[in-house]
């Protein structure tokens, strides 16, 4: 195999700026999205993910300007998600310069949007994001899908949901463990592996990265095709290049 596993830094964007969450209540300004995107590109990021967390609908248009400006200077794939509801939202983001659009809540409200958008724009640009949490109900345990940034339980089994939307045309799945997100304890490897074993499309592992071994485990144990992380890169604990050298030393194919 010579296809490289990908490292994807994730940038949370609100009101035109990149922010870092100190906790869910306090967001600290982390800088200009174009500058940060350029920095990660220079460090060797394989792709960039932007999550638009703008609360006010008045300011939601700013993401388009950001993506347009990033796409003029950074020539690697750009994935954009957050608040994508309709086929028109997908089209507008692609026109701004996104290569892939990530759909989350609206895919659950209306799974047909995955079929519609992948038929219209191609599976290669439709990523479905799944936020899952380990759940025990009576004598049954499973990873349950949540929506609206993790606030609403859906009752759906994440593995079954992954199979369903891959069949509907999703070209890639972004799997975030809500149990691990923000803990720095590493990915939920069982969740990642359970989904990766069941679907044919590439899997991005997300949620819980605290050190570089976690990235290696996501690939080697979880079977992820790409690993997404935010805080270890934002706070300068590691550069992307350091992460890649570490993965390479663990015999993972990497683009250096």
């Amino acid at each position: 195999m010579s296809l490289a596993k990908r490292i994807i830094p994730c940038l949370d964007v609100t009101d035109g700026r990149v922010v870092k969450g100190i906790n869910f209540l306090e967001l600290k300004d982390a800088g200009d999205p174009v500058e940060i995107a350029k920095k990660y590109n220079e460090q060797g990021a394989d792709e960039l993910a932007f999550l638009d967390i703008t609360a006010s609908s008045d300011n939601r248009g700013q993401i388009f300007h950001i993506i347009e400006n990033v796409a003029k200077e950074v020539f690697i794939p750009l994935t954009v998600g957050g608040g994508v509801r309709t086929s028109e939202d997908v089209r507008n983001l692609l026109n701004a310069g996104a290569d892939k659009v990530s759909i989350n809540t609206s895919a659950i409200v209306n799974p047909d949007i995955v079929y519609q958008t992948s038929s219209r724009f191609g599976s290669q640009c439709i990523v479905v994001a799944i936020d899952a949490k380990f759940t025990v109900q009576g004598n049954k345990s499973f990873w349950q899908v949540f929506t609206h940034g993790g606030r609403n339980a859906t009752g759906l089994d994440a593995v079954e949901w992954a199979e369903k939307i891959a069949a509907l045309g999703a070209g890639e799945l972004l799997i975030t463990s809500m149990d691990r997100d923000g803990t720095k304890k590493g990915f939920d490897l069982e969740l990642i592996k359970a989904i990766s074993d069941k679907v044919d499309v590439p899997i991005i592992a997300s949620g819980g990265v605290g050190d570089l071994q976690h990235l290696v485990d996501g690939v080697k144990i979880g079977g992820a095709d790409a690993v997404l992380a935010a805080s270890i890169f934002h706070y300068g604990e590691y550069t992307i290049n350091e992460a890649k050298i570490f993965m390479k030393s663990n015999h993972i194919e990497i683009r250096l």
Partner: protein, 210 residues
């Protein structure tokens, strides 16, 4: 003028941006006008989505003859489905291509495939893979053999003519990822999304005279 052919399948801004970056002085047009294609000194034929849709949209805009004429006469760069459409036919929707070159576009098969960790082959082939150059060509100038480029596709070319294969990539099997014949150069990967190596290839194309 460099014409980037627009037949309504997807956004070509990234292709335009990449050309503008490497060649800011050149007039670059994203166009569906056959006069522009005729007047251009270099022509870029991109493509994304499904090949049957691409062929249909191309024909709806009456651009088939312009594409064929450009491919027969001047520096011509096919990208992704823009490579695939140059050939006889595709398994994707069993569609007939432009037939400029001999070969079939086939789907990756992931039955009975697993890597050393037991993970099966993912489709689409998505990400950065090594491009193994098979011969010298002006478009490979200043690009190292085995440099990685960004791919995203589920179908690949099986060429009938081995002599046009100018690069290969390994994804469970070796497949042809770039072809060169006379004034035509076409790649399965996306140079406009392949960072420095991709920008170098675009620069080489702009400077290529046939």
């Amino acid at each position: 003028m460099i014409a980037i052919i627009d037949y309504g399948m997807g956004n070509l801004k990234s292709v335009f941006n990449a050309f503008k970056l490497v060649s800011p002085e050149t007039d670059i047009k994203v166009t569906s006008n056959s006069v522009d294609i005729k007047n251009a000194h270099h022509v870029v034929f991109p493509g994304q989505g499904a090949m049957p849709d691409c062929i249909r949209e191309l024909d709806q805009r009456n651009l088939r003859d312009s594409v064929i004429e450009a491919a027969n006469t001047k520096p011509f760069l096919g990208i992704c489905i823009g490579l695939q459409m140059l050939f006889d036919k595709s398994e994707e929707g069993n569609v007939t291509g432009l037939g400029l070159l001999n070969g079939t576009i086939k789907r990756f098969n992931n039955k009975d495939t697993a890597d050393e960790n037991g993970h099966k082959l993912k489709i689409p082939h998505m990400g950065w893979n090594e491009v193994l150059q098979k011969n010298k060509h002006p478009l490979w100038r200043n690009i190292n053999n085995q440099d990685r480029f960004y791919f995203v596709h589920s179908y690949y070319l099986e060429s009938k003519d081995e002599s046009i294969v100018t690069a290969e990539t390994l994804y469970a099997q070796k497949f042809c990822c770039a072809i060169a014949k006379d004034n035509i150069f076409a790649v399965q990967f996306h140079p406009e999304k392949s960072s420095l190596a991709g920008l170098q290839l675009i620069k080489n194309f702009v400077q290529w005279s046939v």
